[in-house]
């Protein structure tokens, strides 16, 4: 049943101070104050710094912050081929990795959901890749991928299959990074999708069974639409993380061979922490943030709407 808290006229809470201490509103703000303080200081200060730097000449090994250059850096970055190439790599990676993770994760979830035995142990094992640092396990994937010393090629070789040069072939290297990411994050998708599947109400599916709905129709009309919110959340989380991919690339390929695996963040790292061009790096970061923000205004809207709807339904 609908309940509490006033949203009169403007939709704003109308609580005023009550006799018993602070008002609900003040209380609500007091609760977010500590977190907001940290976020404001440690998100806005660096962001402000980055914006400021992006309008200046700033080479750390050439006198640090120097003269104001207006939009020069923005122009430079916009015409920087490597920047656009790195964005293309990032997008390619994200689409492939997130796509595969979602498809495989959901498939695994269905696989497990239908299983009657051993779910607990399988779930435990699936969590393992999540608990490891890409900076550490990525190293071992480099070992696994080694054309001569690696287990993968040894296995392929014993089966008489071609033995690719996983990280050295320009046509394969990016997919090898994708494979690593898929290894690490598919379980995440699978576990969440599995939890989602298990928490779906049973009755509509029984009704559909009685109605004689085909499996495909049940999936299309019921399962996926009902899972959609949680899958969407995972999709957003994975997309944001994939777009910011750094560790795996740093450990596995360092952007190589050539630049075929040089993602946006790795290029940012190279510009900022190898060439120490803080001006370019900041400019790129701002582009990146801006693009993500614009994208997320659309992407996050359903999530936020879901949130506010629930907030209003409860309050």
């Amino acid at each position: 049943m609908a309940a509490t808290y006033a949203t009169a006229g403007t939709g704003r809470p109308t609580h005023v101070a009550r006799g018993g201490g602070m008002s609900d509103r003040a209380f609500a703000w007091a609760l977010i104050a500590p977190a907001m303080a940290i976020i404001l200081v440690f998100a806005l200060v660096p962001l402000g710094y980055a914006v400021m730097v992006s309008f200046r000449m700033a080479d750390l090994t050439r006198g640090g912050l120097r003269e104001f250059v207006g939009l020069d850096n923005y122009r430079t970055v916009l015409f920087d081929q490597s920047f656009w190439e790195s964005i293309a790599v990032t997008l390619k990676f994200t689409v492939a990795a997130v796509g595969l993770e979602m498809i495989l994760g959901i498939a695994i979830a269905f696989l497990l959901h239908g299983a009657t035995h051993g779910k607990t142990i399988v779930r435990s094992i699936l969590i393992l890749p999540l608990a490891t640092a890409p900076a550490v396990t990525g190293l071992f994937w480099r070992n696994l991928y080694d054309p001569q010393f690696g287990v993968i090629n040894w296995l392929l070789g014993s089966l008489g299959l071609p033995e690719p040069n996983w990280l050295g072939d320009i046509d394969i290297a990016l997919w090898s990074v994708v494979l690593f990411d898929v290894w690490q994050w598919t379980p995440f998708v699978a576990l969440i999708a599995l939890a989602g599947l298990s928490s779906l109400p049973r009755e509509p599916f029984e009704a559909a069974e009685l109605d004689g709905a085909s499996t495909w129709r049940v999936l299309r009309v019921l399962t996926f639409p009902m899972l959609a919110p949680v899958l969407f959340l995972v999709l957003i989380l994975r997309t944001i993380d994939s777009l910011r991919l750094y560790d795996a690339v740093a450990v596995l390929t360092r952007g190589g061979p050539g630049t075929v695996t040089e993602t946006m963040t790795f290029y940012l790292f190279r510009t900022g922490l190898k060439l120490f061009r803080m001006d370019y790096a900041s400019t790129m970061a701002i582009f990146f943030l801006y693009a993500l923000l614009v994208a997320s205004v659309f992407a996050l809207r359903p999530l936020l709407r879901q949130f506010t709807e629930r907030a209003q339904a409860q309050n």
């Binding site: 190293l139 997320s296 907030a311």
Partner: protein
């Protein structure tokens, strides 16, 4: 979801596929642990060797020569304290968003958006901020500064808060409002209601959030790498000290990596009951 009886052939196929998935997920970690027990002569050889005389030398090297347990301890301290901060601050804020719709979603959106800023872009400003804080008396007292735990704790808290708040909001929204109302009628103040009713009820959600935060802190590399030197380096940075002029010391690296991953593995396995309960983030509802 409805479960129907299936043909035995399908069932066999299902378990075969599950086995495949399990192998795929577990093998790299298994291989890492295996490598950690290999003598140097058995590691970088082709074809790879499955059978060898196990040795603990790699662990001795990692622990004694490289003092790797120090990194494990550092990581533990930093991660646990950060997680604590994240959970406490995140819970308070998330509760406010969930219950009072504070800021009408705008602030929540702002908080989420901070997650999108690439860490690499802010790490240098962080370096400068912490350098300056570290030079002040407060910074020294609170151990906030370069190569000090406070700097990492603050950074990790900052970088995990958005995700944590995001998760927690949905958990708090799942708690029926009436529970709080009832407790208030029973005479508890808002703060006490939060402590005695809301937080215990959100425990599974908080646990999941804590698990994820701990994992992210534990596995973080970039900040640890830039903000620490040696005294307070974490495991991910510590592993780098095995990349030597003689090449990567695969055996000791494997031993160190195992040491670095093991606490998390054990922790996650112990907490997996909670993970499963909280994993849907309250996003599925009938």
């Amino acid at each position: 979801m409805l479960q129907r009886p299936v043909h035995p052939a399908f069932s066999t196929l299902r378990y075969a596929l599950i086995l495949l998935v399990v192998l795929f997920a577990a093998f790299p970690i298994f291989w890492m642990i295996l490598t950690s027990f290999k003598p140097p002569g058995d590691i970088m050889v082709s074809p790879p060797r499955l059978f060898f005389t196990p040795t603990l030398d790699n662990y001795v090297h990692a622990i004694v020569d490289k003092d790797f347990l120090r990194y494990v301890t550092n990581t533990l301290i930093v991660s646990v304290i950060s997680t604590l901060f994240v959970v406490v601050l995140g819970s308070l804020a998330a509760y406010s968003f969930a219950r009072y719709n504070t800021g009408d979603g705008h602030i929540l959106f702002f908080i989420l958006s901070t997650k999108m800023f690439p860490a690499i872009a802010v790490v240098l400003p962080y370096f400068l901020i912490f350098r300056d804080i570290g030079r002040t008396g407060i910074g020294q007292f609170l151990q906030i500064g370069l190569d000090k735990p406070g700097a990492l704790i603050i950074s990790y808290t900052m970088f995990n808060l958005p995700f944590a708040i995001w998760l927690l909001v949905s958990f708090f929204q799942d708690i029926p409002r009436e529970l709080e109302d009832s407790a208030r009628l029973d005479g508890l103040s808002r703060l006490k209601v939060l402590r005695k009713v809301v937080l215990p009820l959100a425990a599974p959600g908080i646990a999941v959030t804590a698990i994820f935060t701990l994992i992210f802190c534990w596995n973080e590399f970039l900040f640890a790498y830039i903000l620490t030197r040696k005294t307070w380096s974490t495991v991910t940075v510590g592993v780098e000290s095995f990349f030597t002029l003689q090449g990567i010391l695969w055996g000791p690296v494997a031993a160190a990596a195992t040491l670095a991953v093991l606490p998390m593995l054990l922790f996650v396995l112990a907490m997996q009951r909670w993970m499963v309960r909280g994993l849907t983030f309250g996003a599925v509802r009938g």
